[in-house]
């Protein structure tokens, strides 16, 4: 059978999770199967330099655009699916993947399972494990092929990057699909890290919904200052306007890997864990003992976060003689 691994990139870069999609497909492929990497972007260079683990690369190239909108991506992918008749299409859980996977499912009628962490193959059928309810519940599902799976970034290890033979690369001109598309890209804004770059911070104090209100952020900020840490927030905190977007950790924010990550009142939705689970030392404080943040924390505490901040601040202040 054929497996299509959907990959992404913008400008001249590929997204790292693209290699995870290829690795996931490779891990399911058996003798005689074929792993096809599908890419849509400005040029095929970065993809063909990295996707050597795939048996074939189909690259849809649009020289006039730094990014192929999901609508166009999905249309090109549909043509590839029609031509290749794959049994399985793996789509990353990403901004692009969110628009692509269900669009294809709606137009093909194929099954779609989202937020997939694990896949087991038994001949022509699959058992997959998917996350629900912010990672608090895992659903084991039996899926009939052909099917589409949307895979969580981080669920599969990255394939080793390496070049793919030009003989195994097929390029498609994406310009006609891009030109006739109804969704036009007008701008890509890459954040300016002049003020703060969480990705290089060694210590981060991150506040979540449990902080309660904007005024309380200052308590956490003072603690961060005493620890020599940057203050950061989870999505709800940033959505409420309590911290600037550049200080958001998680899927739609920054992916961080500090030496210390102190999470205060962060529940640990999968999208948050994606951004911080690689930190060297994770300390989590949350009154809900079942909060998923404890699944990645090295140390966890279930006390009130304000009591903890007060007590910890006192000790740090005393220790520094201030």
């Amino acid at each position: 059978m054929k497996l299509i691994a959907c990959t992404e990139g913008h400008s001249s870069k590929i997204e790292a999770f693209s290699l995870e999609m290829i690795a996931a497909a490779r891990s399911l492929a058996q003798a005689g199967d074929e792993v096809v990497a599908f890419f849509a972007g400005r040029d095929a260079q970065a993809a063909s330099a990295s996707f050597g683990v795939a048996d074939q690369l189909i690259a849809a190239c649009a020289a006039t655009s730094d990014l192929v909108p999901a609508e166009t991506y999905a249309r090109l992918l549909r043509d590839v699916i029609a031509a290749e008749s794959p049994s399985l299409v793996l789509v990353p859980y990403s901004a692009n993947g969110l628009d692509v996977a269900a669009d294809i499912a709606a137009r093909t009628g194929w099954p779609l399972i989202s937020y997939v962490n694990e896949i087991k193959r038994d001949g022509e059928s699959l058992t997959v494990v998917a996350q629900m309810y912010g990672g608090k519940v895992l659903a084991e599902c039996a899926v009939q092929l052909p099917a589409i799976l949307m895979i969580n970034p981080g669920a599969f290890p990255e394939a080793t990057p390496g070049p793919i033979d030009t003989a195994r690369v097929r390029t498609i001109d994406a310009e006609p699909a891009l030109t006739s598309g109804k969704v036009k890209m007008v701008a890509i804004d890459v954040p300016d890290y002049a003020d703060v770059d969480l990705t290089t911070a060694e210590r981060i104090v991150c506040v979540g919904r449990g902080i309660g209100d904007e005024a309380s952020i200052d308590l956490a900020r003072n603690l961060a200052t005493m620890l020599g840490a940057e203050i950061a927030g989870s999505r709800p905190v940033v959505d409420n306007g309590w911290l600037p977007k550049l200080r958001q950790v998680g899927k739609s924010g920054q992916k961080v890997k500090p030496k210390l990550y102190l999470a205060l009142g962060v529940s640990g939705a999968p999208e948050h864990l994606e951004g911080m689970s690689q930190a060297d030392l994770i300390i989590a404080v949350n009154t809900d003992p079942k909060a998923p943040i404890f699944n990645v924390a090295h140390y966890g505490a279930t006390c009130d976060l304000f009591d903890l901040v007060a007590n910890l601040s006192d000790r740090l202040r005393a220790g520094s003689g201030r």
């Binding site: 996977a101 989202s114 629900m132 608090k136 895992l138 969704v183 804004d189 958001q248």
Partner: protein, 254 residues
Amino acid sequence: MNILVVLRMIPDSAGELQLAEDGRSIDREWLDFQLNDFDDHALEEAILLKEAGGAHVTAVAVGEGANRVLQMAAARGADEVVALQSEEDAMIFSREIAASIVAMARAKSADLVLCGVQSSEDVFGQLAPYVGALLDWPHVSGTNRIVANGAVLRVTQERGAGVAVTYELAAPAVLGVQTASKAPRYVSGSKLREASKTPIGRAAPEPSGFERSAEIITLRLPVQGGSGENLGGNAETVADRLVSILAAKGLARN
């Protein structure tokens, strides 16, 4: 512009979730149901669009507590509110309600369908792309800003690492909202009481037209705690331990 905004009631996953005896669903008996957070932002964006350029906003709610949330939607500025009937005690799969939303978008001559980008029960796929594909309208998910200039929509989408992409598309369209342009507004008690008089329409569900994506064999709770050490619930003890842990790891501030 006619805007249809979808409001899904979901179990409060900040609380404790228990599995039902059949092992394939969650125990709904003692659960609190709340509006899907992303749908709350979609509602806010709909109201902001109405305030900016005029629109007729229809809110459709589905699930336990739909009437309560529709009154809130009316208090916030929705012109018309409709409860979409659903099977009691069943999960709300976006794949299955998509056909009903499509029917309602047509019945209300919607130019724009807004919903949250995701919900905690959309394991079989997300609503905006299903509805967009079924209507063959353009769709963009993960928006954090929508500006309408007549029928032309300028939409900003959040991507990873803080990258934001702006698109232009023409209505009719379907947008999956991640974050409204402004945080969802507070509604006063008096406004809520006033809005409680708003008549709530009823809509019967349409057949989904899709086969169920998969059979859920079993639900389980993830293994708790990982390999981390539990420092307990006493703030003083925890603070003492953290000071020594940080010192031992060389992370106490120099």
